[in-house]
Structures are given as structure tokens and as C-alpha cells.
């Protein structure tokens, strides 16, 4: 790209002083002011007379382009000088949210003809989103800084920053499972990997299941039995009706991080995970399993935002393939919009098993001047929520209220107990 020559602000300052010197010299009828501005005049002339345009090639390489919040993106800026480069400033313009964690995104250097250099810096993003990187500005200062060569380069590359996925220390088993490959073991024998026992061969058993060592010892055919494998459907219902806080710290981001952690955890345990954005109008991703599903969900969570709407979405409108019967639903909400109550009652009426994760705005709102005020606000919020959630408690719905920075901390305690569901409903529905 051809470089353009522009006057810098310094140019105008020098010129002003030049005029001031001439005026003082004329008014005072002395030569000294004229001699004082002589070096400035020479500098101005020098900047006009050095006109050689530098030639170079520039490359920008970013790796990796898909990261999680807080991970580092390494930026390689490679420059190959064709002609000798006078002091040159190279600036990688970062998005407002980005933080240069290591190195500098603005470098000033000189190069001899044919020389090449690579500059590295690392960028982190504290918040999820899609960010454009690779916008470069070059400024070459031949001689003084008064009339530099300027150029803008667009090596735009889209960087996906996924919400931070925190590992969950415990596993909350769902109440209903269905026959498929997975980590849950059924009490009945069938296809699977978990050893159940050895029994005499009966007609119809597969030959590959014959346990030869026992068969030879007993002089009769024996076969190996395995426990049947099962998995579950997990649906994450994310309330996007309201978001409180600043762009840097808000309830929606906390909810999204919690959703990402849950999705990654259950997908790791070979369950099928789906996502529903509940924001007046529902959008969803049907349940699926495996790594592609994780990235599908993270991509959807990446663009999660609150959209103002007067509509109240009806759970009945969500197709059964998205909200399958027997699915374990994690409802992540702030409970600040009354429309979520409608959805919760709808889910209860349809007999869905769900866990309510209530995100507290107290952890993202700016802290009050006095510690006591903050505590009082948090207590009031908890009391109000307690009243609103009393009915759900009575119906046996597990409710987790955020007490610390980690919204899932309350869930860990429930998970570690193992038996979250009422005793009568704990048994697996095996086949």
C-alpha cells in the first residue's frame, strides 16, 4: 500500500513559533529572536526535502483465533525492509476490550535495507465476543517528525473469545436417562462396556461374548454379561430478558459462563446437551453430544445478549426435540423479569425436572460507599428472592442462589451430596 505524507501537529507548532520569532524580531528591532527560530526553520526545511518513500512488506499473523476468556492470542508482526527504514512506528490497534498482556502493540524501530524483523505481543480478552484483530498503522519519520509517511493496513482476522469454562468438581446425575452410549450404567444387562457377570450360554447369545476360559474350565459354554450404557438429555435454559451491571461485569456474562461450564461438564460425561435462550422470543439449539456440539453451544453463547421485547415466550411452542421429555433442565436466571415465572410454572406443569440457578445482581453491581449498605442490599435481595421462590421450594425444586463470585458454588454442595432428588424419584428409569 502506498504511503501518504501528512503534516504532523508538531509542524504547526514550529510554524507558529517561527511567526512569533519574526514578529518579536520586527517589534524589538533585534536580530536574536530571528536567530532563535533559525533551527526551527532548518528543521521544517529538512522535513520537506527528505522525500524518499520507504518500501517494505508487512505481515500480521494471529494464533490461535479461538480462545476462552483470559487466554492469550499471540500476534506476530513481521516486517521486511526493501529500502533502509528510518525510525518507523508500527501500531497494532486493539479493540477497546483487549488487554496487551505481554510485549507492546506499539513499536518504534529502524531497519537496514533487506533486513527483516518479527515483533511479538500477546493479547487477552476479559469478556466473550467476536473481535477483529490485525488493524495496523505505520508511521515512518524520515528525519524529523514534522512530515511523516502514514499508512493503514487491514489484515482483519476474526477472533472468537468463548466464555470461560470452569471445571465442575462434582457431577449431578439426572433423574431420567435413556438407552444410548454414555457414562451412566443401567442395572439391566445389555450392550455396554461395564462388566456385569458370567452366565451359561443360551440360544441367541452372540459368539463374540463367549467367555472361553470359563467355558473350557466348566466344559460348557459361558458368556459375559455387560451393563447397559445410558445417557441423559440436559437442557440449559438461559434467561436473557434482563441484564444488570456494566459492560465489563454484568449478570448476563455470569449466566453465560455458568451455562458454558454446565454444557462442557455434561458433554464430557457423554450426555446430550441443548440450549434455549429465553428472551421474550425463544431461540434454541437442539440437544446433541460430542465436541462439535460443545462448539455449537459456545458459538451460540458467544452472541448472547439481551434484546428488548414485550413478548412472553410460551414453553409449549418449543418443539419436543429441543425440550425432550425427561430432560434435566438448568434454568439460569436473575428472576428480575416476571416473565420467567410463567416459564417456570409452565415447566413445572409439564412435569419437567429442573434446577433453578438464581444469579445475584449484588455481585456485579458497583459496590456501595459503605460495606454495611452493600451487605444490607444483598440481604434484602435474598429475602425478596426467598419469598418468591418459596412455592418452588415447597414443590421440591432445587434452587441455588448465588452467594459468591462463582454462581455454581452453591450447586457444588448439592452435587457433592449426590442425592439431590426426592428419595422416591431417585431410581433410574432403566429402559
Amino acid at each position: 500500500m502506498a504511503m501518504q505524507r501528512r503534516n504532523s501537529a508538531q509542524n504547526h507548532y514550529y510554524f507558529s513559533l517561527l511567526l512569533v520569532g519574526v514578529v518579536f524580531s520586527v517589534v524589538s528591532r533585534r536580530l536574536e529572536p530571528l536567530f532563535m527560530i533559525l533551527p526551527l526553520l532548518i528543521a521544517l526545511l529538512h522535513s520537506r526535502l527528505s522525500q524518499t518513500e520507504p518500501r517494505f512488506t508487512l505481515q500480521c499473523h494471529l494464533t490461535p483465533l479461538r480462545v476462552f476468556e483470559g487466554d492469550r492470542v499471540t500476534v506476530h508482526l513481521t516486517i521486511q525492509a526493501e529500502t533502509a527504514l528510518p525510525p518507523m512506528e508500527l501500531w497494532h490497534l486493539l479493540p477497546a476490550e483487549a488487554i496487551c498482556a505481554e510485549g507492546r502493540q506499539r513499536v518504534l524501530f529502524t531497519l537496514d535495507a533487506g533486513e527483516h524483523r518479527t515483533f511479538l505481543h500477546e493479547v487477552t480478552f476479559p469478556r466473550r465476543g467476536k473481535y477483529v484483530l490485525g488493524r495496523l498503522y505505520a508511521r515512518v519519520h524520515p528525519g524529523t517528525d514534522l512530515q511523516p509517511f502514514l499508512a493503514e493496513y487491514h489484515y482483519d482476522q476474526l477472533c472468537y473469545v468463548y466464555p470461560h469454562v470452569a471445571p465442575l468438581p462434582h457431577h449431578l446425575p439426572p433423574m431420567y436417562t435413556h438407552a444410548s452410549f454414555g457414562n451412566y450404567v443401567s442395572r439391566t444387562a445389555g450392550e455396554g462396556l461395564e462388566f456385569a457377570g458370567i452366565r451359561p450360554y443360551s440360544s441367541g447369545d452372540r459368539v463374540r461374548r463367549v467367555h472361553w476360559r470359563t467355558s473350557l474350565r466348566r466344559q460348557q459354554l459361558y458368556v459375559t454379561d455387560y451393563y447397559r450404557e445410558r445417557n441423559a438429555d440436559i437442557i440449559i435454559l438461559l434467561d436473557t430478558l434482563v441484564s444488570l451491571g456494566s459492560p465489563q461485569a454484568n449478570t448476563l456474562d455470569v449466566s453465560v459462563r455458568a451455562a458454558a461450564a454446565l454444557a462442557a461438564h455434561y458433554l464430557y460425561h457423554k450426555d446430550r446437551v441443548g440450549l434455549i435462550h429465553y428472551g421474550g422470543v425463544c431461540t434454541w439449539i437442539p440437544p446433541g453430544s460430542g465436541q462439535p456440539q460443545l462448539y455449537r453451544l459456545l458459538d451460540a453463547l458467544l452472541g448472547t445478549q439481551t434484546l428488548f421485547s414485550y413478548l412472553t415466550a410460551d414453553i409449549a411452542r418449543i418443539p419436543p426435540r429441543v425440550l425432550p421429555p425427561g430432560a434435566l433442565i438448568f434454568v439460569i436466571t436473575t428472576m428480575l423479569d416476571g416473565r420467567i415465572d410463567v416459564a417456570l410454572h409452565d415447566l413445572l406443569a409439564r412435569g419437567f425436572q429442573f434446577v433453578l440457578l438464581v444469579i445475584s445482581p449484588a455481585h456485579v453491581m458497583p459496590t456501595a460507599k459503605h460495606q454495611r449498605s452493600s451487605e444490607a442490599i444483598a440481604r434484602l435481595w435474598r429475602l425478596e428472592m426467598g419469598l418468591r421462590l418459596q412455592e418452588l421450594h415447597r414443590l421440591g425444586v432445587p434452587v441455588v442462589m448465588q452467594n459468591s463470585g462463582d454462581p455454581l458454588a452453591g450447586l457444588y454442595a448439592m452435587m457433592s451430596r449426590g442425592s439431590l432428588w426426592p428419595r422416591t424419584r431417585q431410581d433410574w428409569h432403566a429402559g
Binding site: 507558529s16 533559525l38 526545511l45 506499539r106 513499536v107 518504534l108 529502524t110 528525519g143
Partner: protein, 170 residues
């Protein structure tokens, strides 16, 4: 990087000190001392905060103070003083701009050498131009017998001024 910053800060501090203290060589009148302090303060705050306008203001004020001092004390013409003050002013203005780079950029060591080279080149050219101008000024009154030469030189000077002005506006 820290060494570069310290070195440039020392260079800039020295330029500021020299630039503001020039008028005190001729008089220590209270008003002049006040102006000197103001000039130094403006320059210092300008390069510390990275606001170039303050440094330029200090340059303008310094010009005024020095001219005022020379007029008040009725010193005989001293072109070397003007030239040395001009070079100090250039060092101050240029140095404050370079110092801003150190604040925001990672500066390679070779850049400082290149900057110093440019400064020395402009200083050398300024000295040459100053000497040429001084010779012209000293010899101009002695050209009595060639009366038209002074007029011609004035026309040439005016043309040069117009040419420079046009060049700067490009």
C-alpha cells in the same frame, strides 16, 4: 528501556533548564525571574504530561522573555546567543516529542541513535545558516558604494521568505 527513558529525561531536563535560564544571564529582575519560572514550569509540565501545546507555550514565552530581557538591558547584538538559544529550543521541542514515544511505544536502541543523528544534522545546518546570515548582516552596512546590492538582497530575502512559506503550506 528504563535506561533510554532516564537518558532522554536527563537530556530533556537539561534542555528545559537551559532554555528557561537564558534571560537570567543578563538580568535578575523580579518580573524576569517570574517569567523564567513560568517558562520552566510550562515546559516541565508539558513533557511530563505529554501535552505538546504546553511545551510550545513555554517556547513562545521563552522567546518573549529573552527578547524582553535583551531590550530592557540594551545588550549589544549577540547572534551566538540567539543561535544557541534556538538550538536549545529545538532540543526541547524535539525531545518532548521523542519522550512521548517512549511513554507509549517500545523503542529499539537504534532509534535513539537515529534521532540523535538527525538532531546533530539540523544543528550543524543551523550553525552554517546562522554563520552565513551573520556574515550577511555584518557586511550589509559596508556595501555603501554598491547601493543597489542592499536592495537586491532585500528582494532575495523576501522571495526566500515567500518560497519557504509556500513550501510549508504544501
Amino acid at each position: 528501556m528504563a535506561a533510554h527513558k532516564t537518558g532522554l529525561a536527563c537530556w530533556l531536563g537539561l534542555s528545559t533548564l537551559l532554555w528557561s535560564l537564558y534571560p537570567l544571564l543578563f538580568t535578575q529582575a523580579r518580573g524576569i525571574v517570574m517569567l523564567v519560572i513560568l517558562t520552566g514550569g510550562l515546559a516541565l509540565s508539558g513533557w511530563l504530561t505529554g501535552i505538546p501545546l504546553l511545551v510550545v507555550g513555554s517556547g513562545g514565552l521563552g522567546l518573549l522573555t529573552l527578547t524582553l530581557t535583551l531590550v530592557i538591558t540594551a545588550q549589544p547584538p549577540n547572534l551566538w546567543l540567539g543561535l544557541s538559544a534556538g538550538i536549545t529550543l529545538l532540543a526541547l521541542l524535539d525531545g518532548s516529542q521523542r519522550f512521548a514515544y517512549l511513554r507509549y511505544c517500545h523503542v529499539e536502541p537504534r532509534v535513539l541513535t537515529a534521532w540523535l543523528g538527525v538532531f546533530m544534522r539540523i544543528t550543524g545546518l543551523s550553525l552554517l545558516a546562522g554563520i552565513a546570515l551573520a556574515l550577511l548582516v555584518v557586511n550589509l552596512p559596508t556595501q555603501g558604494e554598491v547601493a543597489s546590492l542592499a536592495g537586491l538582497l532585500t528582494i532575495a530575502g523576501a522571495s526566500l521568505f515567500v518560497a519557504v512559506l509556500a513550501l510549508l503550506l504544501l
